[in-house]
């Protein structure tokens, strides 16, 4: 087994290789680390840059402060400087690093000085190291400089050594992730020498602080820190190298730390100590806080303290986790075993002698059960204030009053009841009754009521039922004992009862939350469309968080507001930028995050199974969300993401189906058109070639018939082509009918004449009402419409006569064409105006082209008229197409 393990270790560690692969895609971060200002970091950086530039490397200066030092400024000569962003800040113009300019320029290497710098308020990121992270994420190498005192984990050490509290801090993780750390070293005496020569720039206001800072002792201590940090890193790199290359080496056994924190002042120190310990051991570490399972989640203040601790720990490179359970020690040990932790770090509070006598501290309890785990105790500083969170949350007056009244009510009632019973029977154990009162009070009023009721009951019992009556003195000694036993039993029983009540309440709250979530997911499961899902999500979020909520989804790569609650919520440019950022990077952005914190909203990405589907913005108020709200928020967001993902898939499927449908339609259309063109073409070709090659062997009659078929088929084809062109004009929207005065009778006559020419022998009857008003329109189009209608009537109308009528109907002129053919089933009456719709076989065996009526409708509507079909028209047979045009108000007689 041990042999197996060793063989395993000799393979390159896959995680180490993966980390390497990820690094290959990112830009490299090089940090020039110094012990103090003035050691020459900028100088070193620029000298190196000049050498690379001379070798032809694309390196630019994003931002360098020369502080007016000549030798540094001289180094900038010949290097490309990026323009700076000018920002108005508290009435002054500041020149800041322009992140977007750097991203747009995309050099191979960009130099951005002063890693610990804080950006002015309206910047995308509050801290420069975040700007730099974005640059490396975009694949740009970055060189930057950092003084050791700005490192987060050393903040307390630095403050201790120098007495100066550093406000601008850089999380250790930034330095840890840097690909290269170059130490720029200068001995403290030399540095003080340079300072005296005025070669170190210091703002005037800071000169006094500087005097304190630049002492030999301080500088030596800082130099020590810087050297150690660099050495640690070199060590880490060595281990990494050994792992990546599967070299058996003396690397540290894999240590893993679990750090327990609570909402007390000591915990911050515990985190910092643990961070130093972890980096010394080169061990991953996890910070945990334990919440009691059956208590309502603690006060907001408590939670905020824990959240702040977690943020600090994350910046220092830790994982964080909330765990829930009743048995603190058991839960911590369970986690430690699951995570294969080797050491546990806990803080030890100073406790009173009495407390030490009766209870065990967490540390003691852990050490008893730890079984092989190392335990680190972190003690509080001497004289540190014991700022423990109050064990009892401050109770509101109203609650206290109601508890007291409840207790009083129960005790009074019990006393009266006792007296009443005493009148009839002699009760030896009246105290049982009072126990009932305490339990009653505890169930209704909670722990406080139980406690108050226990006290009152003791007093009332003593006063009313123990001899001598109506005094608080007690005659018999055993009664004294009994009274104390009663008090103890009452308090304990009351405590239990109220605890049960509390648990029931917590369970109820959780059940409600669960039910809400369940309802939500059930409703969500019923939605198939994106818009339904987003509206459901925003209204649910608003209801459970009581904050403004905005949900943005991506459509064709553009992020747009899909739903918001309240619906009139408006997003400003900053908000939209933050949303876009959150979408692109799949990370939270906006208020309370490291990106665009000026936004009023915090945007969280909605990550579905097939990638990001949108972002959700939650308006942030002064109070952060508590843990419960946070939990339901992430649950709702997860559900929403899945629902949106599903909706998107469903919509894509529908679109796909529609596309397929469209393709099938186009295919049918193409085959229909080709058939309609081919048949006349075949006939013409066949007839022509037949005539040319065999004409002399044919009878004159046959020759004549072939010629006639050529003529007819040519006419058929030209009508079809004309129809196609008309349809194209209607479809393309280029149809511009004239608005002339049109005499309906004239147009009807010309269309009928045209029809008779190609279908001689068909009876066409016309009936035009006398004094018919003119209509406004295009006589050519109207004639074409009538011809198409007559053509249809000829084809489908059997051998019965065709009727064309025109008459006035109110303000309209009606024109109708009626045939007496088979008619059209009611279901098809609307569809006959569709393009390429043909009654008959779909393969185009019907004689028509399927365009006639569709063109008729297009033309009629373009002229401002309407058209519809009626069937049966007469005697249960036939079809009537009716057109309706507004009358112009003038008849032809009045014009004449």
């Amino acid at each position: 087994m041990a042999d197996d393990d060793r063989r395993d270790d000799r393979r390159p560690d896959p995680d180490a290789l993966l980390a390497l692969a990820d690094k290959d895609r990112r830009g490299k971060l090089t940090v020039f680390l110094g012990a103090a200002p003035g050691v020459g970091k900028t100088y070193a950086m620029l000298s190196r840059a000049r050498r690379l530039k001379a070798d032809g490397v694309d390196i630019v200066v994003g931002l360098v402060e020369t502080h007016g030092r000549g030798e540094t400024a001289a180094l900038l000569e010949g290097l490309e400087l990026l323009p700076r962003r000018r920002v108005a800040h508290r009435g002054r113009m500041l020149e800041e690093f322009d992140l977007d300019a750097a991203l747009a320029r995309r050099p191979r290497i960009v130099i951005v000085d002063e890693l610990a710098h804080s950006n002015p308020e309206d910047s995308r990121h509050p801290k420069r190291y975040q700007d730099i992270e974005e640059l490396t994420a975009a694949g740009i190498d970055v060189w930057t400089a950092l003084n050791i005192q700005h490192l987060e984990s050393l903040a307390d050490v630095v403050a201790q050594i120098t007495g100066v509290t550093v406000r601008e801090r850089v999380p250790d993780i930034v330095l840890k992730r840097a690909d290269d750390v170059l130490l720029v070293d200068l001995s403290p005496s030399e540095l003080i020498e340079r300072l005296k020569e005025g070669k170190v720039y210091l703002p005037e206001s800071a000169s006094r602080a500087a005097d304190r800072f630049f002492r030999l002792g301080n500088l030596t201590a800082l130099r020590d820190l810087a050297l150690r940090r660099t050495a640690d890193r070199v060590d880490d790199q060595m281990v990494d190298y050994l792992r990546q290359n599967a070299i058996d080496g003396p690397w540290a056994t894999s240590e893993r730390l679990i750090v327990c924190v609570g909402p007390d002042a000591l915990s911050e120190k515990v985190v910092r100590v643990a961070s130093r310990l972890a980096s010394a051991l080169n061990a991953p570490w996890m910070v945990v806080s334990v919440e009691q399972a059956d208590r309502e989640i603690g006060t907001a203040e408590r939670l905020q303290t824990i959240e702040a601790l977690f943020r600090l720990a994350e910046q220092l490179g830790a994982e964080t986790r909330h765990i829930i359970g009743n048995d603190f020690v058991g839960e911590i040990l369970k986690l430690a075993r699951r995570e294969h932790a080797t050491q546990i770090v806990v803080g030890v509070r100073r406790r009173s002698r009495l407390a030490r006598l009766f209870t065990r501290s967490l540390a003691e309890a852990l050490s008893r059960r730890a079984g092989g785990l190392g335990i680190h105790l972190v003690t509080a500083d001497r004289g540190a204030k014991r700022r423990l969170a109050p064990a009892w949350p401050a109770l509101p007056v109203a609650a206290v009053l109601s508890s007291v009244l409840t207790a009083l009510g129960f005790v009074t009632a019990t006393t009266l009841l006792g007296q009443l019973i005493g009148l009839f029977v002699d009760l030896p154990n009246i105290s049982i009754l009072f126990l009932l009162a305490v339990l009653g009070a505890s169930v209704i009023g909670g722990y406080l009521a139980a406690f108050v009721a226990a006290i009152f009951s003791t007093l009332a019992y003593n006063f009313f039922f123990i001899d001598p009556l109506h005094t608080f003195t007690i005659a018999a000694p055993h009664e004294v004992f009994a009274l104390f036993v009663f008090l103890a039993v009452a308090v304990v029983a009351g405590g239990f009862a109220s605890r049960i009540r509390e648990q029931a309440e917590v369970a109820r709250v959780r059940a409600t939350a669960l039910q809400t979530l369940y309802d939500f997911s059930r409703k969500l499961a019923g939605t198939a469309k994106t818009e339904d899902a987003v509206w459901l999500a925003v209204s649910q979020l608003q209801a459970s968080l009581k904050r403004k909520v905005a949900l943005l989804t991506a459509r064709d790569g553009e992020l747009a507001l899909a739903a918001a609650w309240p619906p009139d919520t408006d997003l400003e440019l900053t908000d939209l930028t933050a949303a876009r950022w959150a979408f692109d990077k799949k990370e939270a952005a906006g208020h309370g995050t490291g990106t665009l914190p000026n936004s009023r909203f915090e945007f969280r990405p909605l990550l579905g199974p097939h990638g990001i589907v949108g972002v959700c913005g939650i308006e942030q108020a002064a109070e952060r969300l508590d843990l419960n709200a946070e939990r339901s928020l992430s649950a709702i967001l997860d559900q929403t993401a899945i629902a949106l993902d599903r909706a998107r898939l469903a919509e894509e499927t529908t679109e796909q189906a529609a596309r397929l449908e469209g393709e099938r339609y186009r295919e049918a259309l193409l085959s229909s058109i080709s058939h309609d063109l081919r048949t006349p073409l075949s006939t013409i070709t066949g007839a022509v070639t037949g005539l040319r090659e065999l004409g002399d062997r044919m009878t004159a009659e046959n020759r004549d018939d072939l010629l006639q078929s050529i003529e007819e088929e040519s006419g058929r084809m030209s009508r079809f082509v004309a129809n196609l062109l008309d349809m194209t004009r209607i479809e393309a929207g280029t149809l511009k009918p004239k608005r002339d005065w049109v005499d309906v009778a004239d147009v009807v006559q010309s269309a009928v004449d045209r029809t008779r020419k190609y279908a001689p022998g068909r009876a066409i009857e016309t009936g035009i009402a006398a004094g018919l008003p003119l209509i406004r329109g295009d006589s050519v189009l109207l004639s074409q419409v009538l011809f198409n209608l007559l053509d249809n009537a000829v084809k489908y109308g059997g051998d019965e006569p065709i009727n064309v009528y025109a008459r006035r109907d109110g303000k309209d002129v009606l024109i109708s064409v009626t045939d007496l053919g088979r008619g059209i089933p009611a279901d098809d009456l609307d569809r006959i105006f569709e393009k390429f719709y043909r009654r008959g076989k779909p393969d185009g065996r019907a004689p028509g082209t399927g365009l006639g009526l569709s063109i008729a409708r297009g033309f009629v509507e373009a002229m401002g008229g309407r058209i519809h079909a009626e069937s049966p028209a007469l005697k249960k047979r036939g079809t009537r197409i009716v057109m309706r045009f507004p009358a112009s108000g003038e008849d032809k007689d009045s014009i004449r």
Binding site: S674, G686, T689, G690, E693, M698
Partner: protein
């Protein structure tokens, strides 16, 4: 002269209208049918020598007509088809149709196909004596191929291919027929074999392999060997 009787199956009256006088003038007797059922009945009762069949019929698919016809008759069938109905046309040829004419077509083209089809009718598929196309001579008895008097060396597969095409000279032979006859039923879809072997064959027998005159390509359908003059 023994007049050949031709059955024209088409439901478009216009097509019948020009086919009948033209074919009559070309010396054939024309019988008309507008549906598949009519066509089958006409073949049985009127004993035509050849069928001209439109693939799009109102009552049944042209392919069905061929399939049921081939159950009891080997009468030559020429298909009238359209370019956009390629798959149907190939299926019909594989089902046993003898040739096809694409619409729109000239009467000359149709009568040439009719003549070829009628010539092959009732004749055994073997070539009894040597045949000559262009300057190529094929002698199936001695298994010899020569061009302009010079012997041409063909591999067995190339020879089989050439002979199969020669037996159907003047008529189209589909890819599938070529592949399954020469390579076996499992290779019906291995079109690349054909492309390679036809290419090699043309290198050896054609005067200008880039402009073949003996083995012609029928795009998407198969190959057709030019009929001996």
């Amino acid at each position: 002269m023994n007049q050949s009787r031709i059955l024209v199956v088409d439901d478009e009256p216009q097509i019948q209208r020009f086919l009948k006088p033209s074919l009559t003038a070309a010396g054939y007797e024309v019988v008309e049918a507008a549906t598949g059922a009519e066509a089958l009945k006409a073949v049985a009762t009127r004993a035509p020598d050849l069928v001209i069949l439109d693939l799009g019929l109102p009552d049944m698919d042209g392919k069905e007509v061929i399939a049921s016809l081939r159950g009891w008759s080997d009468i030559p069938v020429i298909i009238l088809s359209a370019r956009d109905r390629e798959a149907e046309k190939i299926a019909a040829l594989d089902l046993g149709a003898d040739d096809y004419v694409e619409k729109p077509f000239g009467i000359g083209e149709l009568t040439a196909r009719i003549r070829t089809a009628l010539r092959h009718r009732g004749r055994s598929e073997a070539i009894p004596t040597a045949m000559t196309v262009d300057d190529l001579t094929i002698d199936p008895v001695r298994r010899l191929v020569s061009r302009g008097g010079e012997p041409v060396h063909l591999t067995p597969k190339e020879y089989d291919l050439l002979l199969l095409l020669a037996r159907h000279a003047g008529r189209v032979v589909t890819h599938k027929t070529l592949l399954t006859t020469i390579w076996g039923p499992a290779h019906g879809d291995d079109l690349h074999y054909l492309r390679v072997f036809i290419g090699q064959l043309r290198q050896k027998i054609e005067r200008d392999p880039t402009q073949p005159r003996i083995v012609r390509t029928e795009p998407g359908v198969g190959y057709r060997m030019t009929e001996p003059a």
